[in-house]
């Protein structure tokens, strides 16, 4: 299953999703729709290697997904984030909720 917006692509993988493009108010709904269905694995991974931009609307989607995963007894991690993505999470004070793996 995949979601595709004007400048965002979300493709489901065995343990999560591969996300590419820019996440803003225009594309966040597509991301939210894709991430609303958590995969049935204990460790969920969103591969962000191809994400070049994310604003607060994207952060809200990721926080919702992480909290949903926690409620389901799963972990949620963002893999391979670019510097700009890592920075927006850190400056927003959400590092405690959104974990990175490289």
């Amino acid at each position: 299953m995949s979601e595709q917006g004007a400048h965002l692509s979300v493709v489901a993988t065995a343990d999560g999703w591969t996300v590419e493009g820019e996440i803003d108010a225009h594309s966040a709904d597509s991301l939210a729709k894709a991430l609303s269905q958590l995969p049935n694995v204990p460790k969920i991974v969103a591969d962000f290697a191809g994400v070049t931009f994310m604003d607060s609307s994207g952060l809200r989607v990721l926080v919702d997904a992480a909290m949903q995963a926690t409620d389901a007894g799963k972990t949620f991690a963002i893999a391979n984030p670019q510097v700009a993505i890592r920075r927006v999470v850190e400056i927003s004070g959400l590092s405690g909720l959104l974990h990175f793996i490289d």
Binding site: A25, D55, S56, R60, V88, I91
Partner: protein
């Protein structure tokens, strides 16, 4: 340079660059619709690169402008915004307002404000405009 479509055309975009009139600035007029945020980021990237800002500084400014643009959309979606970019030797700024010049109805949330505080040197959410200013570091001005 001037690219102008009829102002009443739905979804139309106006880009005006007149170095004499705008004192080395650029005005971009876009519909207050989320899909036009990426266009403002593109202008920011081009403008910042031309003025010697580092990639990280330009990324910060793109993020701030996107947050400010989203604030305007919440209260004024369907209207048109004017983004006035200006640059000096040491700073880049943008003034985001309604094309009509009407007062703003903006209620930013804490997450957006936290981002603004972190990525620009100053911001002001005024009655008629949101203004963002980012100063270049000495390193970027030296091309390092």
């Amino acid at each position: 340079m001037s690219l102008q479509r009829p102002s009443g055309e739905r979804g139309s975009v106006s880009l005006v660059s007149d170095f004499e009139t705008y004192d080395d600035g650029v005005d971009v007029i876009v519909p207050l619709n989320p899909r036009f945020a990426s266009m403002l980021r593109t202008v920011t990237a081009s403008f910042g690169a031309d003025t010697g800002f580092s990639i990280d500084e330009i990324d910060d400014f793109k993020l701030a402008l996107t947050e400010a643009f989203s604030m305007l959309i919440v209260g004024h979606g369907g209207n048109r915004a004017r983004a006035s970019f200006a640059v000096t030797a040491a700073a880049m700024s943008v003034r985001l307002s309604l094309e009509s010049g009407d007062d703003l109805d903006v209620e930013p949330d804490e997450l957006a404000l936290a981002i603004l505080r972190a990525v620009v040197d100053s911001y002001e959410i005024g009655n008629v405009a949101i203004t963002l200013t980012k100063r270049a570091t000495e390193t970027s001005l030296l091309g390092g």
